[in-house]
Structures are given as C-alpha cells and as structure tokens.
C-alpha cells in the first residue's frame, strides 16, 4: 500500500463535558468546531470538506443526526459525510478525515464528533436496550451492563485479577481529570470508594463505569504543504487501523479483544512501530469501564495478556510513569459523550505531542502517541497513531 500524502492535525476544540447541557446538539457541535478552526488559524471558508461522527440517533433523539447537525459541524455547501461505528466512531472520524486528505482529494478537512445523551429519558439505557437482538436477547429484558459485567468477570477469572486491581484505573483516571478544564467526573477517590460504591450488575459497580454526558469535539486536518504553512508544530497522523469482530458477542473471546489487536497491528504497520510499549510515549485508551482500559491495553499490545493490572499497580500508567495511559482523565473522569469522547482522546494526544496539555502534560517530551476507541456491538477497535 502506498500512502500518497502526509496528513497532520493542526487544530483542536472541545466543549465542556456535562450531564446536561442547555445547548442544542447543533450548538454543542458549533462550539467545538469554532474552537478547532480558531486554534488552527483558519476560517470556515478555508475548510474543503467535513467528516462528522455521532453514535446512534437515539441518544440525541433526532433521526438523520448527521444532517440535522450539519450547520454546527461547518457543513454548509461542502462535501459532508457522517461516519458511524457506534462507540468506536470518535476515533473513526479522524481516520475518515485522514483518508479524505491522504487521497489527495482535499487539503483541509474538518472532523467533528458530537453526542448529546441527556434528551433520552428517563435514561439512555433504554436506547441501548434496542441495540440487542430482538429475538434472542431483548425478550429477556437485557441491559447493556450485563454484557460488560460478563466480560469483566471473564477477564478477572481467566487471569486471576482482583477487583481492587481494576479499581486502580478508576482512581487514576478520575484523579487525572482534576486537571482537565472540561471534566465532568474528576475526583480524588480511593480503591475503597470504588469497592464500596453501589453494585449495578456484579462485578460492575457505580465507580467502575463512565457517566452519561453531553459534549462535542473537533479537529482540523491538513495536507503536508498546508499544515506546514499553518503551524510550526503539526502533529502527523502516521498510522490508522480499524477492525470489526463477529456480530455475535457469544462468538468472541471475552477475555481478549482480538479485533483491537488487529486494528492496532494495522496502525502499527503503517507507522513502522515494532515494539509498541517502547515506541508509544503516551496513549489514550478507551475506558468506558475501568477494566476496559486494561483489556484494551492488552489488545493494543501495550501490555502482555493479563498483565495490564500489574503495570497499573506499579504506576507505569500514571502520567509520570513509563507508559502514561489516559492522562486526560479518560471517559471515567472527563466523561463519555460517546463519539465526542473518542475524539476528545485524539485532541488530548494532539495537545500532549505539542506540549500544550498544561497541568496534564506528561513529562519527557512525548513524540509518539496513540488513541483508541471501541464500540459498535461491543466488537470494533479503532486506532490512530500520531507523531510530533
């Protein structure tokens, strides 16, 4: 495969992440879009095409969400596309934006992700219920957290992992989020707090899980020539990967996300990465649940199977550790507006590699970063590798 052109991220924008925002979905998208354009130093007229991403229409409660939000995403009289891979959408948006530019067809592409989950009443859980098979699962009254609970329990059982080891992820991420100005659930908590929190679906407890959130994120991508004119510090997209596993969650290995590994291998190959834990300086790993960060670190080959909890316990994944994971605070701390949460991770890597992450900055001048999201019917991995 020959990639014709280099593509860089040159600007990023993010809204507050909150349980309920007054802004309409379009207004939220606009706030992120405007900030991304301003930080890139361009105007809407300079944007040649737009890629937007959002998870199911059922959250915002507007069918044709892509079209309904088009003005907030800068999609006025421009080539405009919505991409969708469920929860993996946030990282798939910059991947799709990347190919728009890498193909040579466009020089500047705006990428926007939005999710407003608060309209769905009484709780978005009801929208999640309808993603399940109407014949085999829904008659049972299936609840989304069941699946995660089964997966988490399987992961614990297979490798002999204790709940207190998993809880450390929640403690770390919520503490990291204390330094994030957009964060919804930043907190100084202890492992005991997690273990004493309300049991939702065992072994998933209240503090193991990310919140319901409204929010939006946006980035600007540019071709090499244009990027170099716009900024002295472009962040290059050097690897992209995505992979979908079986449609049946009963036909997947619950203890190990093979599809994340395939997605990561695709991105690593493209970026020329042979030893991920050594060559990745900072990673934003999808963490809607605390165990998912560990699960995904292993799928991304950043830890050996069953060993991510050990790295976490040793402090390797702290901001000042050898392999900082989720210095933003992740979904557990910053919040989880589904598609926007994934793109928030890409924004964080952009800021980390530019040395612009402020109090969240990981030390040691990181040069290579990774962001990953996961979703669809709990079976997709989307991965992006970026370099300063």
């Amino acid at each position: 495969m020959i990639i014709k052109r280099k593509v860089a991220v040159v600007g990023a924008g993010l809204t507050l992440f909150r349980r309920r925002m007054q802004e309409t979905s379009r207004e939220l998208a606009w706030e992120a879009t405007k900030m991304a354009l301003e930080t890139a130093g361009i105007e809407l007229k300079d944007v040649e095409c737009v890629v937007m991403g959002s998870a199911p229409d059922a959250f915002d409660g507007i069918h044709m969400k892509g079209e309904n939000l088009a003005d907030g995403c800068g999609g006025w009289r421009k080539p405009y596309t919505r991409v969708f891979v469920g929860g993996g959408t946030g990282v798939f948006v910059p991947i799709a934006a990347w190919w728009h530019v890498a193909s040579g067809h466009f020089d500047i592409c705006l990428a926007v992700a939005e999710e407003k989950m608060s309209p769905c009443h009484p709780h978005p859980q009801w929208a999640f219920h309808t993603i399940f098979d109407p014949i085999l699962s829904r008659p049972l009254g299936v609840n989304l957290i069941w699946i995660f609970a089964l997966e988490m329990h399987r992961y614990m059982y297979k490798y002999g992992i204790k709940k207190e080891d998993i809880a450390l992820v929640s403690v770390k991420n919520k503490a990291n989020a204390l330094d994030h100005p957009c964060a919804q659930l930043a907190a100084k908590i202890t492992v005991e707090d997690v273990l004493n929190s309300e049991v939702l679906v065992w072994p998933v407890q209240r503090l193991d899980i990310s919140p319901i959130t409204d929010g939006a994120a946006a980035i600007v991508l540019a071709s090499e020539d244009v990027a170099k004119k716009l900024t002295d510090s472009p962040v290059w997209i050097e690897g992209v990967g995505w992979c979908l596993d079986s449609r049946y969650w009963t036909n997947r290995d619950l203890a190990y996300p093979k599809y994340v590994e395939y997605a990561a291998r695709m991105a690593y190959k493209m970026a020329g990465i042979h030893n991920p834990p050594k060559e990745i300086d900072v990673a934003e790993v999808y963490d809607p649940f605390d165990y998912k960060e560990l699960h995904h670190m292993e799928g991304l080959l950043l830890a050996r199977k069953g060993e991510a909890p050990k790295l976490t316990k040793e402090g390797v994944t702290q901001r000042d550790g050898d392999l900082p994971i989720n210095p933003s605070g992740g979904l557990l701390g910053v919040g989880n507006p589904i598609a926007a949460a994934g793109l928030m991770k890409v924004c964080e890597i952009f800021w980390q590699l530019r040395g612009e992450a402020g109090k969240r900055q990981v030390p040691g001048d990181p040069r290579t970063g990774l962001a990953q999201a996961w979703g669809d019917l709990m079976q997709i991995g989307t991965v992006i590798v970026m370099r300063a």
Binding site: R20, M21, Q22, E23, T24, R26, E27, W30, T33, K34, L37, E43, L44, K45, A58, G61, D71, G72, G74, W76, S118, P119, C120, H121, P122, W126, A127, T130, P134, I135, R138, P139
Partner: protein, 157 residues
C-alpha cells in the same frame, strides 16, 4: 421464502417489541430567547450576521456560513407572505381528516428563512401564493414558549 401471502403477522412465530424512547429537548441558547419573546411579548426575533449580511429567522446562535456567534437580535415583523402551500387530507397515520388542513411555508420581509405553519380563518380555495398573513397566538396565559404558541396564520387585514 416469501411471507407475502400471510397478511396477519400475528400468525407467524414472533416476539412483539417496540423501540419507543422518550425525549426532553432543550430549545438551546438562541431558542431560549426566541421562544421567550413569543411567550412574554408576542414578538418575533431573528439574529443578524453582520459579516455575511444575513438576518436569520428564526433566531440562531451562529451563522451557518461563517460560524460567527450571532449577538445582534433583530425584531422581525410578524406579517409574512405565503411562499407556497399544501392541503392535507390525511393525518399522520393515514386517517382521513374531518376538515382538510392548509399548511404553508411563510416568509418574512428582510430575513433569511421562514416558518412552516398552519393557515386558519381561510378556505383552501381562497389561499393564494404571495398572500400576506399574520400569526394568531394563544392567549398569553396559555403560552408555554413553544412553536405551538402560534395557533395558525390568518390572512392579514
């Protein structure tokens, strides 16, 4: 295997389901003021983008062409004209309406945009394209800050 001959789906092996979800939508930043003006003062407002020289109606928070924040609120005359109209004989579920409804796209002078709304106090055969119309609002104490505070538009005097 085609099931076309089976007219009654209840005769198949089945599981009945539904995908209903309930929603509460915020009217948003611009909507908050736009609907408050109708509710409290019976007035229509648009927002102006100086850069693009456009006044959007109904009022918006930002300009779709340049993404500028729109801070200039402009009162818009509630008298509009019928750009186009249609007559509905069936309701949302395909039932015949007792009385046909006239639905019109109404534009207003000096602004970009308009409203789709119902026409009242006029017979279908009397409606003309370009006809000047004005809104009939609910009594003030019954208004709740929504598009249904406007009952319909009627021919202007």
């Amino acid at each position: 295997m085609s099931l076309e001959k089976i007219r009654d789906p209840e005769r198949m092996r089945r599981w009945p389901g539904h995908m209903e979800t309930d929603y509460v939508y915020t009217v948003g930043l611009a909507g908050e003021r736009f609907f408050r003006e109708i509710k409290d003062n019976g007035k229509f407002y648009g927002t102006r983008c100086e850069k693009c020289g456009i006044t959007y109606f109904p009022a918006r928070t930002f300009c779709e062409r340049c993404l500028s924040e729109l801070k200039e609120w402009v009162e818009v005359s509630p008298r509009g004209y019928v750009e186009m109209y249609t007559i509905a004989y069936m309701d949302l579920e395909g039932n015949k309406l007792e009385k046909p409804e006239i639905w019109a796209f109404i534009r207003f002078e000096g602004v970009f945009g308009g409203l789709v709304h119902k026409l009242g106090e006029v017979k279908p055969e009397e409606v003309k394209i370009g006809m000047v119309v004005e809104p009939v609002l609910k009594p003030k104490e019954q208004r709740e800050g929504s598009i249904t505070d406007i009952l319909y538009f009627k021919p202007a005097k």
